[in-house]
């Protein structure tokens, strides 16, 4: 009984993770702007990795493999948003701006009249 429950939870988690990853990939290829594509990459880095590793952990049971999977999940959970923030910071420093701030060099919304 418990085995069937664990198998079902593992399969459900793998399916949810695969769905999140497909949604993130579709967002990366379909969204119109660099600054909106970052959100899709964030979905892959947090929800996709979390659910897939959770499903694999439920398959492995209490072994060393679960520890390695947990290590991978924690590491990607820390470094994924860090890398995304570094990419966003580099793009901002290279004068790349979202649509709403196009032509505004300061990059802040409250810096006066918006040039059109």
């Amino acid at each position: 009984m418990i085995g069937i429950l664990v198998q079902g939870a593992s399969w459900l988690s793998l399916g949810i993770g695969a769905a999140f990853i497909l949604i993130g990939a579709l967002g990366i290829i379909r969204l119109p702007d660099f600054w909106s594509r970052i959100h899709a990459a964030g979905i892959i880095d947090t929800a996709g990795v979390g659910f897939i590793t959770l499903g694999l952990m439920l398959q492995a049971g209490f072994t060393l493999i679960t520890l390695k999977l947990l290590l991978i999940a924690v590491f990607i959970f820390i470094t994924g948003p860090t890398a995304t923030h570094a990419i966003a910071n580099a793009a901002f420093a290279a004068r790349l701006r979202p649509f709403a701030l196009a032509g505004d060099e300061s990059g802040t919304f409250d810096s006066g009249k918006k040039k059109s």
């Binding site: 990853i21 398959q59 492995a60 991978i72 990607i76 890398a83």
Partner: protein, 99 residues
């Protein structure tokens, strides 16, 4: 066993889409973002393929790949910002952009 194959197929499709974005990305940062996501999906694919073939011993390689992916992304960003990896940043090169 069948669910691992489905997850692998989803990972393959997602990697294909992200590879397309990394080839046709209009700016450099689109490409770096796509390559970073591709590396993350490669880590997941290595782990899931290990479970699919019944030998989940490849997780050490997946962990190593996660480490190298992060370092590689930061190194690529640093190279394209300062045009150099070894030397320190030139004086006042990018100070005014840092928040």
């Amino acid at each position: 066993m069948n669910m691992f194959a489905a997850a692998c197929a989803a990972l393959f499709v997602a990697m294909l889409l992200i590879l397309i974005r990394s080839f046709m990305g209009p700016t450099l940062y689109d490409r770096v973002l796509a390559v970073n996501a591709f590396g993350t999906l490669t880590v997941l694919l290595i782990g899931t393929m290990g479970f699919l073939t019944g030998r989940p011993d490849f997780l050490d390689i997946a962990l190593l790949y996660a480490l190298i992916n992060f370092i590689g992304t930061i190194a690529a960003l640093k190279f394209f910002r300062y045009r150099s990896l070894g030397k320190a940043a030139p004086k006042g090169a990018a100070r005014q952009e840092d928040a």
